[in-house]
Symmetry: C2
Subunit: 189 residues, 2 copies
Amino acid sequence: MENNTAKRILDVAQDMVRNRGYSAFSYADISTQVGIRKASIHYHFPSKDELVRALVKRYREGMVKACDRIAQSAISLDQQIIQFANLYRDGLENGQICLCAMLAADFEVLPEAVHKEIQIFFRDTEAWLTTLLQQGCDTSVWDCQPEQEAKGLIAMLQGAQLLARSSANSIATFEQIVYPLLQSKFSKD
Amino acid sequence: MENNTAKRILDVAQDMVRNRGYSAFSYADISTQVGIRKASIHYHFPSKDELVRALVKRYREGMVKACDRIAQSAISLDQQIIQFANLYRDGLENGQICLCAMLAADFEVLPEAVHKEIQIFFRDTEAWLTTLLQQGCDTSVWDCQPEQEAKGLIAMLQGAQLLARSSANSIATFEQIVYPLLQSKFSKD
DNA sequence: GTCTATACGAGGATAGAC
DNA sequence: GTCTATCCTCGTATAGAC
């Protein structure tokens, strides 16, 4: 596990983008938290756009890995969906929403290269969830249209994060929205 | 219907916040589009924070009116939900997401006074939708828990806007997520 | 790789004339 | 109410020394 400067910059930048958005974080902020000068950051990431592009790329690769880990665990399909939802809930414990939810809001101010990375993120996530739901249909556990159901679920999770963030008790709000709904839709009984 | 400078400033500011977020619009942008100088904007709204606070206040009052108009129209409950969803779809035609969805993402950089306005918006919206769903339960049209169902619906709508915005064809994406789901949940058949 | 120094524009905001 | 002029800070980015 490497822990070089580039990684530390990305770690700090990721926290800040997820908390405050693309337009509200700066090289000066990173500089303070990482402990190097503004100019040094440009050595690793020549421009802010390239930094954010690298950020989203790393993030979506991490998401793919996290999803694969869930799929390879020996738990039931409905428990896999719970685990998937937990990925979104966990971020909220640090006040953070999904990087790509935030950047979807900031979409209009982002360069084309970042647009592409965000679109790949949602495409991958949707594909993974669709596959999962398809298994439930094949084994007659659920009655559903996997692709559309996947889109709806992701929308609900992203939106729940927004509502959670703007409420006094974020995590409770998120859980109150998400888990009963998953329960009623996918519970085994 | 008044159309003074303050209103024109708010109109332009609203477009820009919904498109680009709180941190990515400036007095200079407003100045250009309204056709007055930066300094003149400060006469109407002394600070950016006060401008945005006024913006959210006006926006949520407009939302209350729009919801009341739907409730007072002589259409079925399920059609009222469709109309409600249409409010969110219509903004997307100008590439705009809900003002409060955007500001929920920007929540961490906003002052307390704006937080409160946003929270009132969601509280009002949720209350209106809960009342609507409750009517469906009372008349045995639907089997549901109104309050929780309302939260879930709003989350889904807000999230669908984010997904729509980051996709190539925003409106199609939104419609594909939202309307089939409403159909399956609330259709009269 | 990281530093100092600096360029240069954009940000929000204020003072005072008209 | 709107203007010009101005302040001061912060933003991204670059050049060149170490």
